[in-house]
Every structure is written in C-alpha cells, then in structure tokens.
Symmetry: C2
Subunit: 546 residues, 2 copies
C-alpha cells in the first residue's frame, strides 16, 4: 500500500488502482464480452455468464426480494452471491466500484441464514444486499474518498448508517465511485478513473453518487446509499433511470452545515424508498449520530395527514423550467406524460415555479465556495494530485471572514423565508384550501452530459438550499424520433448556461438516456414525499397500461 | 429620534432612554415607594398601589389564568390592564423593560373580548399576556437589540413567534432588556442601563434574557419568551425562581448556525411550558420560519413512550458538579432535596456526569469566538459605543478561515458523538434496560453574581453544544443559616474559575437568591423534557408537603 504522504501521487494512484483490479479479478467471475463501441450495456445478454437463478434474483423488484428473504423463500447467501457477481459484471462495463468485500459479504449472509433457522429474520432488511458510496465508512474497508492522499485510510468502525443497515439485517458488499471532492455531478477521480453511464457509455453517469447510480442502474445492486448536497443522489438517480431520495433523516459528516450533505437511497423500485427509510429509522440512528433528529417513522405524515389524509385529490405545481435554464425537449415530454397521468387520476395541476432562481443560485454558489477552495486544496495537497475540473469554479472565490460567512448563512435564511412565503401564497390558485401539495420539476436541464462537459445543479440545488425533501422518479428515455431539437428560445441574459444547454442538445448523442423528474415537498415532509412519489409512479404506470 | 448613524453615541442613548422613560411615565401608573436599600422587592406590599382585583389576577398560576380566559370568567381587557400595571411596577423596581405598548395591548384585549362574545376564545392563549425579549420583533415596536446604532429600527412585520402567539390569542404588551451583543449572562447595555435581580437587587438578574427573567420573577408577566445560545433562558430562569425551556422548536435568526440560538419561554408555573409550546406548535410556525422543523406536538413523546411510557419508574443521573467548577453550597442542598423527592416517588438516581467537560467548553468557546469579535465590533462601530465586558473575551481570538471554521464545526460534531456514546453507556448502571432517562444538574455554579463580576456558562453551555432540550425548575433560595461556605476543595488545575467561584461565595451576599436546577434530555426529546420537569416539580411539591 503506498504511503499516504507520498509526493509521487501518480504511482500511488496507479498502485492502488492496480491492487484493486487484482482484488476484483481474484474473484474470477465470468464477465460478458462487450465491444467498447456498444453504448447501451443495460440490456446485454447474461446467458452463459451468470447462473440463470442469479439473473432472476437480480432482476426482482426490491419489495419482492425483501419479502422472499423475510419468508425464507430465498437464502441470504444465494442472494449475496447473485449480487456480488452482477456487481462485478456492472463494474466491468462502467467502472463503478472502488472496494469489494464479496467474501466477507457471503460469509455474513451465511451467518444470517444460520440465525434465520433459529429465530427468523434478523431485521426488516434480512439478507438484502446494499451497496454504499465510497464516502460511507464500513469497518475494515478502505474509504479514501477518491483522494490519493487518503489511500490506506481504513475506518476502525462502521458509520452510523452502515451500522443501522447491518442491524436491520442488510448485507454490505461493495463501495462505489465518486468524483474528486464530491462537489461535482461527474464521477471521476485520480485513483479509480471515470465511471460511465450504462445506458449510453458516451455519457456521464452523474454524480457525486455516480458509481452508485451506475451500479444500481445495471442492477449490480437494487438499492444503494449516496449523499446529496446539491443533487448528488438525485442527478445519478435521474441519469440511470432510478428512484432516489434526498431527505432530512440522515446527515453525513461535514463541517459545511449551512447547506448540509444528506444521506439517502438510490433504487430500482419505488417501494425501496419506503422500505429502507423505515428500516433505518427503526434502528434508531439518533442514538448514535448527533445530527439525526429523534424522529421515528411518522405514519401520519406518510398518510398525508396535512394534505387531505389521502382521501382528497392533491394539487401539484408543474415547474417545466426553473427560470434560469430551459430544459431540453425530453423533459417537456416527461413532464407532459406525468401531468396527464396525474390529471387522469383526478389530481389538479397548476403551472408554477419558485421565484428568484437567480438569487437562489447566487447564494448557493457562495455557500459552496465560502472556503475559497481551501478544502480541496488541502486534500489535494496531501499527495500533490492536481485539482480536477468540476463544479468548483476554476478560480477560487475571494476569501471571506467567518463573520461574513455568518452573514451569508443569514442571507440564505431570509431567502428561505421568502420561498416559504411564495409557496404558501399558491393557496389562492389550488382550489384545495391548501398551498400546492408538491412541486414536479426536471432533475436537470439535460438528460446527461458528455464526459467533461459543463454541469449545472440549479434544478437540484434549490432543494438543498431550502432543505426540501425531494424524490426522483424515472419517466422515460431520450427517443430521437420524438425528442427533436426545438427552435431557439430567448436565452436568459445573465445565465449563460441557458444558451449553452440549448446549443449542445442533440437527441442522437443523448439517445436512450433516462429522464427522471423530481417531486419536491416542504421541509420535514420526508415521509410524505415518499408517499406522493408512490402515487405519481402508480399514476404513470396506470397511464402506460391504458 | 436620534439618527442611526449618529457618532455621538452618548447623547443618542440618553435621548432614547429619556424618551422611553417619558413613555412609561405617561401611563401614570401608581408605583410602590421602595427604599433603594431594600434588596428583596419580590414581596413588597401592593396595597393601595394596585387594584386588589389586578393583584389577584397577576398572582394566579398560568394554567388557572388561561382557563379563566378560555371560559370567559375573566375578560381579556381586565387581565391586560392588570399586567400592564404590574409590569410598570416591576420596571420601577428592577429596570427590566425596553419598550411598552400598553395602549395597543389593551385595545387588542378589547377586540378579543368582542370576538369572544361572537365565537368564544380566539385560540389556546386567548387574552393571555406575553412579554418578549427586545430581540423578538413585533410590528411597529422598536427593536434595537440594546445597540445605540440600532435606535430607530422598527420592524414592519411580526417575527414568526410573535405572529404565532397573536394567532393563538395572546396579548403582547412589552419588551424586555438584554445585554449588549446578547453573548452575556449579565443584563446591561448603553441605552437602557442595567436590570437587577428582584430577589436581591445587589445581584444580577442573569442574561441574556435578563429583563424577561426579572419581569416574570416579579410577576409583571407570567410568561415571556427569551432566547438561549449558551444559557440565556436558563440562567435568568434560575436566578429569578422560574421555569424555563431551552428546546429545539423555535430558532431565532442568526448566521451562527453551528450552535444555534433557540427561542423559549420563561414562566412562573410549570404548566406554562406545556401550554405555550402546544399553542405555538398549533400555529404551525414551520409554515413561516424555514428553520422550524415540521413537527406538530408529539403526545407520544410527551407521554414518555421511549422511557417506559410513564408506567415505569425513571432513572436520573445527578451531576452535582460538571467537573470544571464546583457549585456553591446551595446547589448541593437543592440537588439533595430533588434527589430525595425523586427517590421518594420510587425513581432511581445514579451519580454521573458528562465526560470531557474541558473539551466541551473549549469547543464551545471557539465556536462563539469564531468571528474574532467582528460581529460586536461591527455593531458597536455603527454608533461608536464602547464594547462592554461580558462573555466575549477582552481580546479577540485570532481570525480563522471559513475552512477552519468548518473543521471546528466538524470537531464539535465528533465530540457530540462521544457524548451520545457516553450517555448510551449508562445503560449498564440504570437497571431500567435504558440509558439514563434524564440528567439533573445545577444551572450555574453560583446562585447569581455581583454586578459586573465574572461569569461562567459551562453548566448551561454543554446543552447548547450538544443540542439537548433542557428545562429549568426552581428548588429553593439561598439561606445563610444552612448554606454555609465549605472547606476548600482541590481546585481544578486548568480552569481558574473553580477557585474564583469558591472564594467569592458568601451566603450573606447571595441571601434569598433563587436556586434552579436543569433537567436535561436527549436531542429531539422536547416534549419529554416538559413532562419530566412536571414530574420532578410534582415530586418536589409532594416532598415539601410531607
């Protein structure tokens, strides 16, 4: 293992990457042979590569798999073997993993099977495999955050989340790739290189929980945990056709508390959001993590007590554009599909978006950059690795004092109050006697982006700034036959990315890229947003059948 | 009104003080004649000064008064008149007010009486008068924070708290004094001068919600709201024989979010805590204040669901000393009285305190001083008024960068995790199968302090650092016949205040000063701490009767 304070960052990174490759290869899993020109690897045949029983297991829905494990209809060890193999396959296709501990996982699963014989399921996630973003610490598993200077850092104990998952019976088996510094919706770093999108390998898998998104997108995991401070769960969920939750239940460890990084799931099945959130809360994370609220699962909030109790129809605000950058055509189609599906179910839809998006993005950018790049410079400085391009501005913003930072936090707070006021004011337009129940909005202005291309988090960032729980759901994929480029609109005069985003759109380039939307609710309504996304998803499925 | 940017801060302060005096005098309330050498003004006769009916009203318990107003057995206007008069009396004795709007309050009460005739009580606090710390904004009422440079700042709208109280039917009538910059447990500023303790005017009334404590202590209000970032509700509650709550429900507006300033009540009656907390939550403050959690009153938490559901006996940890500074003798007596009262009720008590108090206070001090005095310098600089002595160190700590501040916030978080771990580990000592349910601890190491004397917030600060909900309850008063000085103990080698606190104790000097204790519970257990303090209070009352 290279020394942490090695100045020769390239050889340290090479050695680590090589050691990891050897470790993966040592499992000697059969892997599919795919030409590098094949862009969509989500549908390649696994015949003769994986045990058909394992293919069947990894193709299940989350709820079905959890139930079969609870009932003992499937053995934990069989499920673990299936997902270890499929994760290795996914990794061979999109380079999504950073650590594997398949042996340990299979051993853990065997122990769970033994315990099951004596006393039934260990917990609500008995035998269910869960993948974790590199950042989420697991005892004895290197967590280097993709920094060369962190190579060799092996946590001595589980993070609170990992602990809660294990206590719920889950099987942990691998960790997934991230961008340098996490402050990017790309997924590339100096150690592990780039993770690509399994639906179109020319495109980004999103970030920062990009390895997680790519792995779950290819069903190398049905559910994994990432973190989100500006879109880092929601962007990769959207780019990989997944459901993703940015809530308030679990906070990760960072000093930047003004806009906090929040842990949450990315999953193939809508019911995964509820199952895993309930399981984690049942493990009482607040007894270990000082930043997790003491708040057991609130069934009344899930049952939409404050929104007519599930008996009344809801009113959704549809924000086709956030007023800064107009989304590409597939989002308009996805929004219209969702609108029609909800209206068919009797729900009301109004057109409305959050006021002052310019101010929102300005505050958010200043909060992100308040350290004037000192964090990334410190971390890169440990090894000498160069700073990569990403969301961090190419030049550091000028230093501000702690007092100025406090003023900035206060400015954010005043802004949040104006956003609440605007949301409250929608009451006059809904006809329900309530303000808008939820907002539906694109997750990004683009379906994905070409590798190393410019990114934009204004669609997801507004929820981080306002601390709004948000769930992403998949709607469709880019189809060049219908998602044609539109005539140019009047571009935003002060937000240059509006024009860039228009000009770089090409339906052939983005072909097959999944399109996800966000469902946004109000601060603290975490259980409610899960319920509403289940409703929206059911409405979309009913619409597709009709 | 003097100009805000006046450089002649003394004449601006004099003019404002004089104008305020004229305003109070204009009401021409009869005031008691008390010699300046009379130290205890809490028991002076009001015969011939106040209408006997008004004396009776202002001597009621909170629950009784609220009930009579709900039933229409008392008119709001009568109650308002009674408290306006008694507040003016209290002000004449201890200089506790900074704004009065008695006319407006009485008019509001008349309107409430009219509304009552038509539809019964307007809300759960119908006609109940509530006083507010100067900091809490009320539409049209100057809120200058005690800064000369803020003279003339009149908010155009209510703060969210004031709004919730008014919507609950409460009558607002006055605002109370604070120390310069709020970061002190004294109560003195350049405009309004010093507020003193009504139980012993040679002593401090505490701070920063000191005017509130002094006013409620003399029943010029039965319940007022203050704020607490290091003890600012709990210290004046304790020094004035009151119940006080430092919870998580309402946050005030500050950029210093790492350790946040929290709004809460100070009151004469234990049931006041529950009544007003429920009322404020029923007004849904989260629909206006972005920092208030969406969390309606949780009856299950109040009913101690996580602590045996009220059916089992509790286990209390008694922390006689915090390990930094040994409290003066009256606290040992108060702790023993409370211990006996709880044991008589069948509860278990163990000796235990929080580990690493040195580290706790070190982190807290660095968070408070992270702006290197830039905040107070900016505010004093607006008028040129000098900076006063208080908790702020006489010399500014060196500047740190925002990145270093983030590291400090993270250090705090890791420390919080160790405190949780220690609390969890008490499970082995309780015999209940649970960790300690609550911690009982002095509120300060001293009963009060002589004006301008050195202060210490290590007893209250630990709860702010850890975000623990805490309620203060009164136990006894300093009695020179029993609270004699003790032989010197071995003083803390690295915390000089331990020796200072020992040496400056004199039971004759602190005679009659109220002694309050804190009941501390875990993060998010706000409703539970109210319930437990009700139980502790009932146990103490039963013990006194026995």
């Amino acid at each position: 293992m290279p020394s942490v304070d090695s100045k020769d960052w390239k050889s340290a990174a090479d050695a680590k990457r090589e050691a990891f490759k050897k470790q993966v290869d040592s499992y000697a899993y059969a892997l599919p042979k795919v030409d590098s020109s094949t862009l969509d690897v989500s549908t390649i045949s696994l015949d003769g590569v994986m045990d058909p029983k394992h293919v069947q297991i990894t193709n299940m829905e989350v709820g079905e798999l959890v139930e079969k494990l609870q009932k003992g209809e499937l053995k934990a060890v069989e499920v673990a073997k299936a997902f270890c193999h499929r994760a290795a396959i996914a990794h061979s296709l999109v380079n999504c993993l950073t650590e594997v501990y398949f042996d340990r996982a299979i051993k853990h699963a065997e122990e769970l099977d033994e315990e099951f014989k004596e006393g039934g399921p260990v917990g609500p996630l008995h035998g269910f495999p869960i993948s974790l973003k590199n950042q989420i610490c697991v005892e004895g598993v290197e967590s280097n955050m993709g920094y060369v200077g962190w190579i060799g850092r092996v946590p001595k104990k589980n993070s609170v989340l990992a602990d809660c998952l294990v206590r719920s019976g889950a099987v942990l088996y691998c960790q997934t790739n991230i961008p340098q510094n996490l402050m990017s919706t790309e997924c590339i770093n100096a150690i592990y290189g780039r993770t690509v999108n399994g639906f179109n390998r020319n495109l980004s898998c999103g970030g920062s929980s990009g390895g997680e998104g790519a792995l779950v997108g290819l069903r190398g995991s049905l559910l994994g945990f990432g973190s989100d401070i500006g879109g880092s769960i929601r962007v990769p969920s959207s780019f990989n056709g997944l459901y993703g939750l940015h809530g308030g239940a679990d906070n990760s460890c960072q000093g930047l508390e003004a806009v906090s990084s929040v842990l949450g799931p990315l999953t193939t099945s809508v019911e995964g959001l509820q199952i895993v959130t309930k399981a984690v809360l049942a493990a009482e994370p607040w007894r270990k993590d000082p930043f997790v609220h003491y708040q057991p699962w609130r069934e009344s909030v899930y049952q939409l007590e404050a929104h007519g109790g599930g008996k009344e129809k809801l009113c959704f605000a549809f924000a086709y554009s956030n007023g800064l950058v107009k989304p590409n055509p597939p989002y308009y189609r996805a929004m219209d599909m969702t609108r029609k599906a909800l209206e068919t179910q009797g729900h009301k839809v109004i057109d409305w978006s959050f006021p002052e998006p310019e101010k929102c993005f300005d505050i958010l950018s200043r909060v992100y950059g308040a350290d004037s790049g000192e964090d990334i410079e410190t971390e890169c400085g440990r090894s000498g690795e160069p700073r990569m391009y990403g969301l961090c501005p190419p030049e550091n913003p000028p230093r501000i004092s702690v007092y100025q930072y406090w003023q900035l936090c206060y400015e954010r707070r005043l802004f949040m109050a104006t956003q609440i006021e605007a949301w409250e004011a929608t009451e006059s337009q809904t006809g329900t006697g309530r303000p808008v129940d939820a907002v539906i909005m694109p997750t990004s202005p683009y379906p994905s982006f070409r590798h190393d291309d410019q990114q934009d988090v204004s669609y997801t960032g507004v929820c981080n700034l306002n601390d709004w729980p948000t769930a992403v759901f998949p709607v469709t994929r880019v189809d060049p036959s219908v998602d044609k480029q539109q005539p140019a609109h009047t571009f935003h005069s002060d937000y240059p990315f509006d024009k860039i985003n228009y000009e770089r759109y090409d339906p052939e380039v983005f072909k097959n890229a999944p399109i996800g939307l966000q469902c946004i609710m109000r601060r603290g309504e975490d259980e409610a947003v899960i319920r509403v996304v289940e409703m929206v998803d059911a409405a979309l499925k009913a619409q597709k059948k009709a």
